[in-house]
Subunit: 209 residues, 2 copies
C-alpha cells in the first residue's frame, strides 16, 4: 500500500552520451509499472515513423509561442530554428492520475524544471568512468574532430553539475541502472514528507483504505 | 556499481505490535543481501536456545556499567532491573566493512540513536489501519485488560512520532514491506550527498573502480 497516491515527476538527466535514452527505455520494460513518458512539444516537422502524441506533440510556431506566453511549458529551448518544450498540462494530468511521469532531458533543461518543480525527483546518470564517457562520445557516428572536441568539453562542464541533483546513478549496466531508478521511485513514495498526511488520516480512520 | 562503499545504519522502528520483528526477518531472507543485524547487549541471563553474539551479547552488570561510562552505547535502557543497549563498536566495524547494519528498536530508543547517528536511515513501520494495530495488540497472548489498555495508550502516543522519521512503510504485507525497505536502502546509497565525493574522484580517474 502506497501512502502517497499522487504520481512522482522523475527527471532523468546527465551528461551528453551517458545513455539516458537507453536507461529510460529499460525502465519502461519493468513489469507492472505505472510509468508515463513526458512527451515533449516541438515545432519541427515529424520524421517518418514519428507519431504525434507519442514521440512528440507536433505544433505550429504560432501555437508554441502562444503557449510560451501562457506559461504552459515547464521549460523550453530553441535549437537550429525550432522550438522544443515540456508541456506542463500533460504532466499534471498524469501525476494527478497517480502515474509516475518520467522525463528524460539534458542538464540545462533539468535545472530549469527544478526551479518550477522542486518536489520532482532529480536523477543524474553518470558513466562508470571518464574513459567510458569519452569512448561513447567518440564512437557516436562519423563526426568531425572539432565537433567531438566540442562535445567532450560540454560533457565535462555537465558532469560537474551532479551536485544539483538528488541522486546519482551509475550506468554500469543498463538493467541495473533502471532497477536502481525504480528503487528510488519506491523509496521516494515512502518518504515521510510525502506520506505523513495520508498516514495521520489513516490512523484517525478518515479513509477506508 | 555503488558509489557509496560504506554500509548504512538502517533503523527499523514503529509502534508496539506493528510487526517490526517479522519484517526484519523477511528482510534478511532477501537473496544476496549484505545485511548485518545489530546485536544488542544485555545483563539479563540467556534463555534456553539463546546464543551469545547472535541473540544478544550477554555481559555482567559491572561490564555494562563500565561501557556506559566509556560512552560505548548508541542507546541503552533499564527494564525490570536489567540493562539493554546497542554497542557502538560492533556497528562501526560492520559499517566500515560495507555491510548494511539493520537495527530493530522501539520508538524511544530510535530517537536516542538519531541524536548520535543523524546520518542513519530511520524507517517507521505503520499498520495498514488503526483497527489492524488494535487487533494485534489485543490478540497478543492472554494479558489482563488493564495491560492491554496500557499498551494501546502507548501505541497511540508512539504512532504520532512518525514525523521524526525519514520514511514511513506500511506493513500491509510482510514481504512487500521488506521489499520496500530494500528499495529505500538502494535509493539511499544513490543519494547525492552520500555518493558525490566518490563520483568526482571517479571522473578525475583517481580510483580504479
Amino acid at each position: 500500500m502506497k501512502l502517497n497516491e499522487l504520481g512522482l515527476l522523475v527527471v532523468i538527466s546527465g551528461p551528453s552520451g551517458v545513455g539516458k535514452g537507453t536507461i529510460r527505455k529499460a525502465l519502461f520494460k519493468i513489469p507492472d509499472n505505472n510509468f508515463c513518458y513526458s512527451v515533449s512539444m516541438t515545432t519541427r516537422k515529424p520524421r517518418e515513423n514519428e507519431v504525434d502524441g507519442v514521440d512528440y506533440f507536433f505544433v505550429s510556431k504560432e501555437e508554441f509561442v502562444r503557449r510560451i506566453e501562457e506559461n504552459k511549458f515547464l521549460e523550453y529551448a530553441e535549437f537550429v530554428g525550432e522550438y522544443y518544450g515540456t508541456p506542463v498540462d500533460y504532466i499534471e494530468k498524469n501525476l494527478d492520475a497517480g502515474k509516475e511521469v518520467i522525463m528524460e532531458i539534458e542538464v540545462q533543461g533539468a535545472l530549469k524544471v527544478r526551479e518550477r518543480k522542486p518536489e520532482a525527483v532529480f536523477i543524474f546518470i553518470v558513466p562508470p568512468s571518464k574513459q567510458a564517457l569519452l569512448d561513447r562520445l567518440m564512437n557516436r557516428g562519423t563526426e568531425k574532430t572539432v565537433d567531438i572536441q566540442r562535445r567532450i568539453e560540454k560533457a565535462e562542464r555537465e558532469y560537474h553539475l551532479a551536485y544539483k541533483y538528488d541522486y546519482i546513478v551509475v550506468n554500469d549496466d543498463v538493467a541495473n541502472a533502471a532497477d536502481r531508478i525504480y528503487a528510488i521511485i519506491r523509496a521516494e513514495h515512502a518518504k515521510t514528507e510525502r506520506s505523513i498526511h495520508k498516514y495521520y488520516k489513516l490512523m484517525e480512520g478518515k479513509t477506508n483504505e
